[in-house]
Symmetry: C2
Subunit: 207 residues, 2 copies
DNA sequence: GTCTATAGATCGATAGAC
DNA sequence: GTCTATCGATCTATAGAC
């Protein structure tokens, strides 16, 4: 059995490493500084994580898992299509325009060359999981007759891409502050309105 | 007057640094290796660029300028809206799904924390310039009566965001190979079709 | 398990000869 | 301007005491 004291140190290391990697990046943060912040000795750090790379993998996995839990599960049973889309949009926008999500995204892209397996882990447990979930929701809306498309995955892709927009790039680059609540609300309304016109079944049938 | 031999060395340094930074990232490439690849001595390298940061700035500026020239100027005088959009889309997709553009994008995001001024340089001379140009084109289409929207900038944002889609993220993460010509063509058709439905003036007026 | 101390390697930047 | 040689700092990872 592993002692709880050792477990506590491990958690302290992970917490410190997560905070510093997300805030300052992988390269600029040394094992020395992480050990100091934990606070543990460098030898203890290496007892829990074989290498700096292994520590990064632990940080990525834990952060992705944590972020996924913030994506609210949407019930599509109640309400019409517009209200359902609005709920999904609000949950998605709240997630991607958070400092934590943007930071992990930057970190992954920066290290994607040297750790391609981390990129796959991030994509499958993050963006891809969200896409799949939305595609399933759209499929259910389709079965209820509120909606008609040819490819639910394309429809899901379109919806999330619209919700990102150019604003997401600006936030990712750090050249624009995160949008305030009202700003996000207005953005969602614009996008959902545009999306529903594009998905309108009457115009769709005229294709 | 600066000797042409010195100028040639400067160009050789920039070329080597660009290639290595884009392929391997900023941190992993040392001044030593750049000097060897140029090939010049490290002292000569520092004679042309005061620091590694200054060299990075030179690489970014030159690469952004080079990439912008590949964006074809679109004439909206001739042809209908769909053919115009298709031309713009083809030019945009060809640009963003190129190895060079993806590499510079990764590099900028990776270093955006420490060099925010480089992020602004990249955004204004890259994505923002493209957005502004498209917004102006849409404005002209609007004036010709082929098109009607409330905010040309929003319409431009939507168009480019759709063309990126989830595929762009996968390419940026390096977990998917660049799309082939036919794949890009099919993608553009899907997106333009969806976009034109969303922008359809009859449904728009019914708002 | 945890600590201090340090090995071993690499890096950015510079000094001095030509 | 260009070169060789090197400084000083920092990094990852480990050895050995407790």
């Amino acid at each position: 059995m592993i002692s709880s004291a050792s477990d506590a140190k491990r958690q302290a290391i992970l917490k410190a490493a997560t905070r510093m990697f997300l805030a300052q990046g992988y390269r600029t943060v040394s094992m020395e500084k992480i050990a100091q912040a934990a606070p543990v000795s460098k030898a203890t750090l290496y007892n829990h994580f074989d290498s700096k790379n292994a520590l990064l993998a632990g940080v990525i996995a834990e952060t992705c898992e944590s972020l996924l839990q913030t994506m609210t599960l949407i019930r599509i049973d109640e309400g019409d299509m517009e209200s359902t889309l609005n709920k999904i949009a609000a949950s998605f926008v709240e997630l991607i325009f958070s400092e934590k999500a943007l930071s992990i995204h930057r970190l992954i892209i920066a290290e994607s060359r040297e750790f391609p397996e981390l990129s796959r882990l991030f994509y499958s447990t993050g963006p891809q999981a969200a896409l799949t979930q939305l595609a399933e929701n759209l499929q259910q809306l389709k079965n209820k007759g509120q909606f008609q498309d040819v490819d639910s995955f394309f429809s899901a892709d379109v919806f999330f891409s619209l919700l990102k927009g150019d604003l997401y790039l600006q936030c990712l680059l750090g050249i624009k502050p995160l949008p305030a609540t009202e700003e996000k609300q207005r953005w969602i309304e614009q996008v959902v309105s545009f999306y529903m016109r594009g998905m309108d079944t009457t115009t769709w049938r005229n294709k």
